[in-house]
């Protein structure tokens, strides 16, 4: 049994490192986009080495000067894809951090006080969680209007129940630990127990959820942009660029939709690897701590 556990743990370790590597690479791309992108992100910059395609404006297939080709406006796809990392990470960060900021304290409180307050909050959160996230986000996005910050808020709605649930369940079990009992009998105030003794120990499960919800948030944000509810042109954004590219797909123009999608997949695969790897690494720790 033990050797297998070791093997699994190293696999999880490798997965987390790959995931972390991909995430760091994307953060670097986002930060360095203004420097590393070969062309300006907005406006025509194709050199027209090949004559413009009559079907899709100034688009041209991948070539030596434009590795990923140009889109219908003659914009370099590689440049837009690099800049797109900025928009995507920005929206994701806003959405996930806000969800944590709301879901964590509410989950902590709900799990700690228990009783009918806990039951009520749980019912509300579970109902919202059962609803298709994208539809709810689309509704909120439609009401708030476009832009990275508004989309971030819209996707927060999906992930609050997730953070809430994980925090609450963890709180329920940590609450019964002996050291919490000890703190209580020594006269620690509920607020101190909740935040310092329980909260600190619940926090260990958060990185997993953080990575997994971040992966999902990237997909949801791209979906909203694809539906035309997210980011406004001409801001470079993977989902938005895909929805523009779709019009020219039937003419065989594949490069304007292929590459933005590839970026979404790479980033979400990275984040899922990180999340699942961390999950395998942290869960044994949690189980050991319980025993």
């Amino acid at each position: 049994m033990l050797p297998m556990l070791e093997k699994r743990r190293t696999l999880a370790g490798v997965m987390s490192w790959i995931g972390l590597g991909i995430l760091v690479a994307f953060i670097l791309i986002a930060v360095l986009a203004p420097i590393i992108a070969p062309y300006p992100a907005v406006g025509p910059n194709s050199q027209f080495l090949t004559p413009p395609n009559p079907l899709c404006g100034a688009c041209a297939p991948p070539s030596f000067s434009h590795w990923m080709g140009t889109d219908n406006l003659g914009q370099d796809v590689l440049t837009r894809v690099l800049w797109g990392a900025q928009t995507s990470l920005e929206v994701m960060a806003i959405g996930v951090i806000l969800a944590l900021a709301v879901g964590f304290p509410v989950g902590l409180y709900s799990g700690y006080v228990g009783g009918s307050i806990d039951k009520t909050i749980l019912l509300v959160m579970d109902s919202v969680y059962a609803f298709p996230g994208l539809l709810l986000a689309a509704l909120v996005a439609a009401m708030l209007g476009k832009g990275p910050f508004n989309i971030g808020i819209a996707i927060t709605v999906i992930y609050i129940p997730l953070y809430y649930r994980v925090t609450r369940n963890q709180t329920l079990s940590v609450r019964e630990e002996t050291y919490v009992e000890a703190a209580r009998s020594l006269g620690a105030r509920p607020w101190t127990i909740m935040w310092l003794y329980i909260g600190y120990n619940v926090l260990i499960t958060i990185p997993v959820i953080f990575a997994l919800s971040a992966a999902d948030a990237i997909l949801t944000a791209a979906g909203l942009s694809y539906l035309g509810l997210g980011i406004q042109l001409p801001t470079p954004d993977w989902g938005l660029d895909l929805s523009v590219a779709q019009q020219f797909l039937t003419d065989g123009v594949w490069w304007t939709s292929f590459f933005p999608g590839l970026m979404i997949i790479l980033l979400t695969v990275g984040l899922s690897f990180l999340g699942e790897g961390l999950n395998d690494l942290i869960n044994p720790l949690l189980k050991k701590g319980r025993a």
């Binding site: 019912l123 059962a130 609803f131 979906g223 509810l229 039937t250 939709s257 292929f258 979404i264 899922s272």
Partner: protein
């Protein structure tokens, strides 16, 4: 009062427990639509309409009343089946229910097709993976389960469109039916069923050809979840005592897998099914956009674009009803299959 533990009692309890969930969802929808800043009337006219028109419309929609009064009217109207009249450019003047009844079959057809694809592929992959634990096939299967799930459904749709419709020309690019011949006369609204009812096999083939790509797209993305659940459960049941006992009695491994382990591994899959539907509907909105599929998802996005407030509200409420209904059905189904959950 039916006996405790009987299926009827269990079903009734589920039904009663689902009511608060429905009410909460309706309340959330109300909160998002009315309390978040953003005035539908203002958005509809872009501030160009004279104040008197805006005031009249606000009055007509009841937006000039206090929130609690609006809320009561809203709930009463929903439960009396009055969803209002569409305001938008596309369906203006039609009742919301009429529009939704036209669009719902397209989404149902897409959902059922996708679920068939997803469960067939997903359960097969999970089964093969689970039987060959830690072999190469298993690693491939697990990798499939993890990666297929993170592929954006709209991107997958576009790529399949490019391959099968644009390059190979095997299947139509998008929409629910050919331009001619015209679709079968509406009975159920599901083109496949209607063409069979009309006895027109040729129309049935057209409908299936149009269904193929969208269902494959959505089904593939959903299959990862099935594969993961089936594999995990199979690993659990394959080492269970009753399977060990069967093995000790000398029953063939093939029979053990199919009769003992696999069957029991499928039970938790049914519980997962409910969650799967939520993902399915989110995916359907995107897939309908990719394939120009004239269903509920397209309707919702179109109404959001033109700020058709009653239609947005109606569509979302119908989705809420369906979600709650499915969660009840899933609960009852798992109660039928596994009597233990009834207690």
């Amino acid at each position: 009062m039916p006996r405790r533990g009987s299926l009827l009692a269990y079903g009734l309890t589920r039904l009663i427990l689902a009511l608060p969930m429905l009410l909460i969802l309706l309340t959330v929808v109300f909160a998002v639509l009315r309390i978040i800043p953003g005035d539908p009337i203002y958005a509809l006219y872009g501030g160009r309409a004279p104040l008197s028109v805006i005031m009249a419309l606000r009055h007509q929609l009841g937006l000039d009343k206090p929130y609690w009064q609006q809320y009561v009217t809203y709930i009463v109207q929903i439960f009396t089946g009055n969803f209002g009249i569409s305001l938008g450019a596309h369906y203006g003047g039609q009742s919301v229910i009429t529009v939704i009844v036209q669009k719902l079959p397209a989404t149902i057809e897409l959902s059922i097709g996708s679920m068939i694809v997803a469960s067939t592929i997903g359960i097969s992959v999970g089964l093969i993976s689970g039987i060959n634990r830690d072999k190469v096939v298993d690693v491939v299967g697990r990798l499939y389960g993890t990666t297929i799930f993170v592929i954006p459904v709209f991107w997958l749709g576009l790529m399949l469109q490019l391959l099968f419709a644009v390059d190979l020309r095997w299947l139509p690019v998008n929409s629910r039916f050919d331009i001619s011949p015209s679709p079968p006369a509406t009975i159920t609204g599901l083109y496949t069923i209607d063409s069979l009812l009309a006895g027109r096999l040729d129309l049935f083939v057209i409908a299936i050809r149009h269904l193929a790509l969208p269902c494959l797209t959505l089904g593939l993305v959903l299959s990862g979840f099935f594969a993961k659940t089936v594999r995990a459960n199979l690993l659990r049941t394959i080492n269970a005592d009753y399977v060990e006992a069967a093995r000790a009695r000398g029953i063939k491994e093939r029979t053990i897998i199919s009769r003992y382990a696999f069957k029991n591994a499928l039970i938790p899959v049914i519980t997962v099914l409910g969650l799967e539907f939520a993902i399915l509907f989110a995916g359907a909105v995107l897939t309908e956009t990719t394939f120009n599929w004239d269903g509920m998802g397209r309707l919702l996005i179109d109404s959001i674009e033109v700020q058709d407030y009653p239609l947005i509200q109606g569509t979302i409420i119908i989705f809420s009803f369906i979600i709650v209904l499915i969660s009840i059905l899933v609960d009852i189904l798992s109660g039928v299959i596994d009597p233990r959950v009834r207690y």
